[in-house]
Symmetry: none
Subunit: 163 residues, 2 copies
Amino acid sequence: MDRFVSTYTNKIDAKGRVSIPAPFRSVLENDGYSGGIYCYPSLDAAALDGGGERLAQKIDGLLQGLPDYSDERDELSVALYGDVHVLSIDGDGRIILPQSLRTHANLETQVTFVGLGDKFQMWHPETFQDRHKQAREKAKQHRTLFGAGSGNPTGSRDGGARE
Amino acid sequence: MDRFVSTYTNKIDAKGRVSIPAPFRSVLENDGYSGGIYCYPSLDAAALDGGGERLAQKIDGLLQGLPDYSDERDELSVALYGDVHVLSIDGDGRIILPQSLRTHANLETQVTFVGLGDKFQMWHPETFQDRHKQAREKAKQHRTLFGAGSGNPTGSRDGGARE
DNA sequence: TAAAAATCCATGGAATCCCATAATAGCCCA
DNA sequence: TGGGCTATTATGGGATTCCATGGATTTTTA
């Protein structure tokens, strides 16, 4: 399997460590594991985005259009690279979440890992529940718009409720 | 790991010494460490740019586009090379910031190191906070432009069938 | 010779490694 | 089908290493 799917909730222990769900770990290994996962605060949600090499390359791609040494590039780099943490995975498949990341997502004792295909997100469990409900509501509305709930003809995403 | 990512804030001690964040140091070593880091005042910000060989080569690359002995090239050379300092790293991974550089970036007691991929920047912590906010705003705008919401520019797969 | 710079040493706290345990899931074989 | 064995996983807790930081000592330079 090569995509992050499903959700899991794990504990944060006294040292700030969290187990990465085993299925996610194996995805990361197939993705060219380079010593750790890339993790940064989501731009518009109280959550963290995480992933492996594929995610890192995506970030590179966003910057490629911009000329070196332009102020614009530097500015964007601050948001894209400056916020990224490389969290190394210990021998037991755990990472430790830096304080800055934990505060962004209100993570205290538990983390909900949510697979999003190319990447995954980490949420405060309750916050995610709310989000999840909203997302499903929106998805239903869309379906009735399209009629019959027979899948998703246009291939559009589910109303952007995610992230 | 081969690029500068993440942000770290370190102290300047009484002698003007600052620890380079360990992850940055290891990037520099992989980058062909040549005795010190290249450091110069950012052209359009109250910050310092720093990096290793890759950064030096990029500066060279900019100049190569211009004809030899042209006024334009001379000017740019002065602008780019003139203010460059080579800061040697001591046995404990620290550098000493010359006064001229410190004044340009208003560095007094603390320095925030920001990874920008090929290079990194050094900011006064509070000044950086503002910059950081701007940068995230800009990134949001770009993101909607790119349609990079789910990290999937084409919007094709992952149509919301989560869980 | 005094001031400045480079090198060396010491330390507290944090991150990493290593091992132990309990719970779960998968499997084999009767 | 069921029962027991094994492998995997999440979690907890020491022990060790790494790192930022401060200070002392030596070397250089003015």
